[in-house]
């Protein structure tokens, strides 16, 4: 709760800083500072919380556990890392720099809500608080028509899915008379009310929009491609992970008891997502667009955490979310240094700048799930959760085949960097940026060797 309040207050501060300060660099420094403060508040909240404690606030509308606080902390840290890595590119996007940073704080508020809601009203507000700023961020490059188009598309799709989400909530309310997600009484009934099933289906569809799962993924490539690149990085990572925590929280808290009736639907969605994301990513010529499709594919893997109902899946989601976020942020940070976003733009990077090529290799390895990187451990946890589920072996094997396909397009970047010749245009790297990239790459490897760092005992 402290973090939610702090994030709101800091967002307002950030907004005013945007009015008062004109120098963009200063705004960036202020944003970094405020994010660090927010991270501090998160850590403080984590430390002051007793092990195993569950704090229920406002008549059980929020239940804050150590897990949710830990997740919030990780997301805040990821945002801080994001701002550190790409701050200089964020301030180049448009004129309203202070406002953009304020929007990040608002998105964090939404994330905090989604990690600890216990009432569907809070969930709904959390999703909207995450979504509306993202529509704005997508359209923030006003000189560029593609950005405006991305924004419009995102808005229409988002609003449409909100409508579906609300219908789902309403149907479930109609069947149970309850908005509190831990009080739904499905088990007491002799048979499952069809209204509940329809409601769950609507919720699945709506969340599929938010996390860009097939067949509701079609907006993703255009939106991610059109949005200003730094904001694409944010939407594809932290925005997506936040939607996932809401998804898993709702489905595993309240619908776990009727899981046999919806896991099959979700398993098919997962398979479709993996298929569409990976196969279409193969045919892309632009790395940015490839990353957009690969983010669909990665969402397919993250869906495993929702499909398989066990304590392991929450851990898997944390690891996957963080691993994917870090690696993708790293790739985007490198991408922003290049002038040409196609695969050919990477040609000969290893010769021209071995440092950039080296860190990119680590990020690519992580995304492709090569051992000793965080991405591998993430996939491992997900698959373990799914195998434990028992009847999902077909999905696991399909996912592994798709992971091999993903190696194909990820390795195209490596082939371009190391084995092709070219003269890539690179903008100058400052020492601090180098340091941060090294730090990110190290993080990827450390988490690949010791993933339990992300899951300390007692969360």
């Amino acid at each position: 709760m402290k973090a939610i309040i702090a994030a709101t207050v800091l967002a307002i501060l950030m907004m005013y800083a945007g009015f008062v300060v004109k120098e963009k660099k200063t705004i960036l420094s202020i944003a970094t500072l405020l994010l660090a403060v927010l991270l501090g508040v998160n850590i403080y909240e984590l430390l002051t919380m007793q092990e195993g404690a569950t704090i229920a606030l406002f008549q059980y509308q929020l239940t804050i556990t150590r897990f949710s606080v830990w997740f919030n902390m990780l997301m805040t840290a990821a945002t801080l890392l994001y701002v550190l890595l790409m701050g200089n590119d964020i301030i180049k996007v448009g004129k309203h720099t202070g406002e953009y940073f304020a929007l990040f704080f608002f998105i964090l508020v939404g994330t905090y809500l989604l990690s600890s809601f216990n009432n569907m009203l809070i969930m709904f507000l959390g999703i909207e608080i995450i979504s509306i700023p993202q529509y704005i961020l997508a359209g923030s490059d006003k000189r560029n028509l593609k950005s405006s188009e991305a924004s419009l598309k995102y808005l229409l799709m988002g609003a449409f899915s909100t409508g579906i989400l609300l219908m789902g909530i309403t149907l479930i309310y109609g069947a149970t008379g309850e908005f509190n997600i831990s009080k739904f009484s499905f088990l007491q009934m002799e048979y499952i009310n069809p209204m509940v099933l329809t409601g769950v289906l609507f919720l699945i569809i709506s969340y599929s929009f938010k996390i860009s799962a097939a067949p509701m993924h079609f907006w993703t490539p255009d939106v991610y491609d059109g949005s200003p690149t730094p904001f694409t990085a944010f939407m594809a990572t932290i925005g997506k992970t936040a939607a996932f925590i809401g998804f898993i929280r709702l489905f595993h808290t309240s619908f776990a008891s009727i899981s046999q009736s919806w896991t099959i639907v979700l398993a098919i969605i997962t398979a479709a997502t993996l298929f569409v994301g990976n196969i279409t990513a193969v045919f892309q010529q632009s790395v940015k667009r490839m990353l957009a499709y690969s983010s669909i594919a990665q969402a397919g893997f993250m869906l495993f955490s929702v499909v398989s109902v066990s304590a392991l899946s929450w851990q898997g989601l944390v690891i996957y979310g963080v691993a994917y976020t870090i690696a993708t942020l790293g790739i985007f940070a490198v991408l922003l240094k290049l002038k040409d976003f196609t695969f050919d733009g990477f040609n000969g990077l290893a010769k021209k700048n071995p440092f950039l090529a080296g860190v990119t290799t680590i990020f690519i390895f992580s995304l492709a799930g090569i051992p000793l990187t965080a991405g591998f451990m993430a996939k491992f946890y997900m698959l373990q959760a799914a195998v434990r589920q028992g009847n999902l072996m077909w999905l696991v094997i399909f996912a592994l085949l798709m992971a091999a396909v993903s190696a194909y397009y990820y390795f195209r970047v490596i082939i371009a960097m190391f084995f092709k010749t070219g003269e890539p245009e690179i903008s100058e790297l400052s020492g601090a940026q180098k340091f941060l990239l090294v730090l990110t790459a190290l993080l990827v490897i450390v988490l690949g060797i010791a993933p339990q760092l992300l899951l300390p005992s007692g969360i």
Partner: protein
């Protein structure tokens, strides 16, 4: 009045909204269709609220209206921004511009 009637009515409105969102090319009309969907939900919630004699659902409706208002504010701003550039709000034209 059985609750089914309200259920059918609001689902009908909802599906008309879905149809509108799928059929039309004008971004504003699509947006209006989505508003129609939200209103269908509101109506259903109000009916359930009466059925369960629970005012929480009406509070929920209230919040849906709040969110809808916020979304409309942002949405219309985005639509106007797009219109300024291409002098059209036709989603098909936008798709064509991409290629």
């Amino acid at each position: 009045m059985p609750i089914q009637y309200y259920l059918f009515l609001s689902l009908a409105l909802f599906c008309i909204g879905v149809m509108g969102a799928l059929m039309r090319r004008n971004a504003i009309i699509i947006f209006m269709s989505i508003e129609l969907m939200l209103n269908a939900v509101n109506l259903l919630l109000a009916a359930f609220s009466k059925m369960y004699n629970d005012s929480a659902a009406q509070i929920f409706v209230f919040f849906i209206m709040v969110v809808a208002a916020a979304e409309v504010a942002v949405g219309l701003a985005i639509i106007v921004m797009v219109y300024r550039k291409v002098h059209s709000v036709d989603v098909n034209i936008l798709n064509r511009l991409k290629h």
